[in-house]
Structures are given as C-alpha cells and as structure tokens.
C-alpha cells in the first residue's frame, strides 16, 4: 500500500535548529542533531535540512552536519540552501544527502536542473519554491527566505522545471509558513494538478488535521512540517536543550521554556510523528508505521 510521506523539515542557522514565522524572526530551538536523530527513531519518512543563511553567504554550510547524521539515519535526506553548482550537489551527496533542494540558483540558471538531473538522476533534484500569493490563483516565486521577488510565476516555473528534469517540488507557502493556520491548500492543489512529479506541501502546519487537509484537498504527495514536530520533540528533550550552552542566536524562547513557559505557540500544537500518523490512519490515509 502506497503511503503518504511525513517529512520533518529542519531549518538550520549556524549550529542551531531555528524556527520562525514567514521564514523570519528565527528563534533557537536547540541542537539539530538531537531533533534529527529523534525524528528518525520516531519513524519519520524523510527529512529536509535547510541552511537558512546560505543564500546570504553563497554557500551551504551543512556538509558537516549531514555527514555526522547520515551515518545513523537511513531515510532519504534532502539538503537545501545555497546550492549553486554541480560541484555543490556532488559534495552534499558525498556527505550523505540523497537529494538537494535548489531555489535561487535554478531561478537564475534553469539549465542547472537539466545538468543536475542528467548527472545525478532526476530523483535527487528537488525544485524548492518559496511562493507568495499575489492575486487570485496567482503566485510568485521568491528567494532569500521570502524576501526577494523574482517575477517568476509559480505554476509556469513548476511545469518548466518538470520538463527540465526536476524530480520533485518542495512547495513552501511564505504566507502560511510558521503561522499554524494550515497549508495553502489552493496553492498546493494548483501545482499538484499541473505536474506529474511529486509535490511536497510545506508551511503552515499547526495540527494533524492540517496534514490530512493538504493530502485530501491539496492533493499533496508528501507533507513537510516543522513547528509542530519541533515543539513536540522539545517535550522529550527540553531538559537536555535548556542545559546546553548556545553560542549564538535568539535564545529568549529557550530561556522562557526553562522558566516554565508552556511549549508551542499560538495555533501550533506540539505533536510527535506517531501522533500525526495515528491520526491520519484514523482518517483513512495510509501511513508507514
């Protein structure tokens, strides 16, 4: 029985797992290794590591982290952020990535999709899109964590990228990301209906009903989530996390948590992988358990 993939998305800044709203206002959540290994043990189907500051520095700095975690994690790992060239892709695959997610570089040079797909196989080329709604059924691609406009229409770009050899689409709604208001169903369905490669819905998950909605109404082939899982995992690891010494980043949230503030955030329920999958199965959506 084919099952829907439940994907944990880890946005990483320097040494820290971070989480923001609309891809901004990042708060430190803890050591990403603790979360990645925890999600694998909990039965996550796949993981995405995003270097959130890579575009600013023009390179992906996750190689070491990928290398350290891939030794003991045996589900597909997608790595994104600052991937510019065939050499960058080759280095990440060598470090332990199974797929790379590319946004800015292929907007600038769409031929990179064709070259990467030819050299490494379409299965490892994930087109990453940061979409913002600009009007009725009108979405535009953004880069740099939703800050820079590109003028490129999401739907046209998805279809073109499929033709160039992209293997999957990671479709992040900047409008919904981090809000816990649910996925952008219209956007997800709009793209999923238009391409035959898998579409991963990303951005907005606040409860497991949202996951079901993205699959049934949005026709997503896979669903990525961050906040719900991170706050859920913090339930297990909070004592370890608050005892760690963080060198950088916005630590106010972890300070509040260590002083007893409830986990989560407005509209976001802390959940584990198995809580989400059990809920989906109750709703008749097949999952791997």
């Amino acid at each position: 029985m084919h099952s829907t993939r439940i994907i944990a998305r880890l946005d990483i800044k320097g040494p820290n797992l971070v989480k923001g709203v609309h891809l901004e206002g990042l708060r430190v959540m803890g050591d990403p290794k603790l979360f990645a290994e925890g999600y694998y043990q909990d039965g996550v189907d796949e993981m995405i590591y995003m270097d959130t500051v890579a575009s600013l520095y023009g390179r992906n700095s996750l190689t070491e982290f990928v290398n350290a975690t891939a030794k003991s994690i045996f589900v597909p790992l997608t790595v994104g952020g600052g991937v510019r060239s065939l050499e960058d892709i080759s280095n990440l695959l060598r470090a332990g990535a199974d797929k790379v997610a590319i946004n800015t570089a292929v907007i600038k040079n769409p031929e990179l999709i064709r070259e990467a797909s030819k050299r490494f196989g379409a299965q490892c080329v994930v087109l990453s899109i940061e979409a913002k709604k600009m009007g009725d059924f009108k979405y535009e691609c953004f880069t740099d964590n939703g800050r820079e406009r590109t003028g490129v229409d999401v739907l046209e770009w998805c279809q073109r990228a499929e033709g160039l050899g992209a293997g999957e689409i990671l479709l992040t709604s900047v409008d919904f990301e981090g809000t816990g208001m649910g996925y952008d169903i219209q956007l997800t369905r709009h793209v999923s209906d238009a391409v035959s490669i898998p579409v991963i819905a990303s951005g907005g998950c606040g409860q497991s009903a949202h996951v079901a909605q993205a699959i049934v109404e949005g026709k997503a082939d896979a669903v990525a989530m961050a906040s719900v899982l991170h706050y859920g995992k913090l339930r297990d690891v909070v004592s370890t996390v608050v005892s760690q010494d963080f060198k950088e980043g916005n630590l106010n949230y972890l300070k509040d948590v260590s002083q007893g503030q409830a986990l989560g955030r407005k509209n976001i329920a802390p959940l584990s992988i198995s809580e989400i999958k059990e809920d989906l199965i109750r709703r008749g959506i097949p999952c791997r358990i």
Partner: protein, 224 residues
C-alpha cells in the same frame, strides 16, 4: 569477525555513499570498484544504480563489467541489485528503446502503466514508501527477517516482470499495478526499492544479505 569483502560495483551511476554507510553501520567496510579481480574476490557484490537502463548497461559494458558480473554470478556467491541495479539483472528493458540487460534473471523491464480514467489517479514516477507482500516463502532469502507488509522507499518509473513466477519473492501494489518488488533466483537478489533509505526494515535486508544463510550454493559468512 571473518574477513568479509563486500564490493559495490562502480560504473558511474547511482548514489553509492548511502549504501556504503548502511554496510558500515552493520559493521563492515565495502569497496566501490570496477576492478574485475577485486570483484571476483568479493564475498558479496552489490549492484547499485539510478538513472536510465541503457546508460547503465553502456557503462557496465564499457568497463567489461557485464562479463565480470556473469562470471561472478556463476560462483554462487550472493549478488544484490538495487533499484536500476535490480532492473539490469533482467533480459531486456524498453526504457528509451529496447536494450539488453545482464540476463541473470529471465524477464523484462517495462514502464509502469499510466492510470486509466477508471482508476483513482496515481503519478509516475512512483516515489515514496510502499509495502511488500510475500510471493513464496522468505526463509533462506534476504527478506527472512522482515515482516509481510513492511514499508520501503521506492523511486522508479519502470518495473521488472520476471518470466517465471517462482523468481518473484515479493510484490508491491501501486495504483492499479502489482509488480515484482523483490526478485530472487538462486544466489541473485534484487530490490526495486532502496533498502539503504528504508530505515530498520531496509537495514535488515543488508544484514541478511551479508550474514544470512541464503540457500546452500555459497559460502556462509559469519561463522569461523
């Protein structure tokens, strides 16, 4: 621990790193090689691969590895093909024109049929986790330590159709199609999915391939 030689065939296609890491996780080193004498000396051979069938065969032939693999298969030592590596074990494929394969297992590789208007729609390629079901007993095979219904990670647009049902070890259903997801003929095994990306269930396949008693025609490792 016996001195175990595991060779991963290097023909320029496929992400061999995750396979090497899975083997390493189970406590063994592997060599990624195209050298005939290294391959013939190995106790186990893994044939990886992603991409197109014709490119894969051209690369193997270009390095003379088609003959080496045929010779290796004759020794009775276990061979495991992964994804495209499984498809290459068969007689022919229709991917981008008709191409001959290694012919270690009689059968043909065909595209997964598209969904018809009467089906619930499904996409090609088939990407994601899907379950496998027994076709014949799993004892003495790479699946011995797996449960029927176990999930594995697939990425493919073509599927292999063995000529003989007895070579089908497990099947998987996708859309309206039921296809052979694990093939077994004597010492030759092939998985359409990626065990190295399939969590504990996938590691159990490598563990069995390396340490298990796979029939009787080959030297069993893990003893003396």
């Amino acid at each position: 621990m016996p001195d175990l030689k595991i060779a991963i065939i290097d023909y320029g296609l496929g992400n061999i790193f995750s396979i090497m890491r899975a083997v390493k996780f189970l406590g063994h080193n592997s060599v990624c090689t195209a050298d005939p004498s290294d391959i013939m000396k190995a106790d186990r051979v893994i044939l990886p691969g992603v991409g197109a069938f014709g490119d894969g065969m051209a690369q193997l032939k270009g390095k003379g590895l088609d003959r080496v693999l045929a010779e290796y298969a004759q020794t009775g030592k276990p061979v495991l093909g992964i994804c495209l590596g499984m498809q290459l074990l068969f007689t022919t494929s229709e991917e981008f024109g008709l191409n001959n394969g290694l012919n270690l297992v009689p059968g043909h590789v065909r595209r997964i049929p598209s969904s018809s208007p009467t089906d619930a729609p499904y996409k090609i390629p088939h990407v994601g986790w899907n379950s496998i079901n027994p076709a014949g007993g799993w004892r003495g095979t790479v699946l011995e330590n797996n449960q029927p219904g176990a999930f594995f990670y697939f990425v493919h647009s073509y599927r292999a159709i063995p000529e003989r049902d007895e070579h089908v070890l497990a099947t998987t259903s996708y859309g309206s199609v039921k296809f052979c997801s694990v093939v077994h003929k004597d010492n030759i095994f092939g998985c359409q999915f990626h065990p190295e990306l399939s969590g504990p269930a996938g590691l159990a396949i490598y563990r069995q391939f390396i340490h298990g008693h796979l029939g009787s025609r080959h030297k069993v490792l893990g003893g003396a």
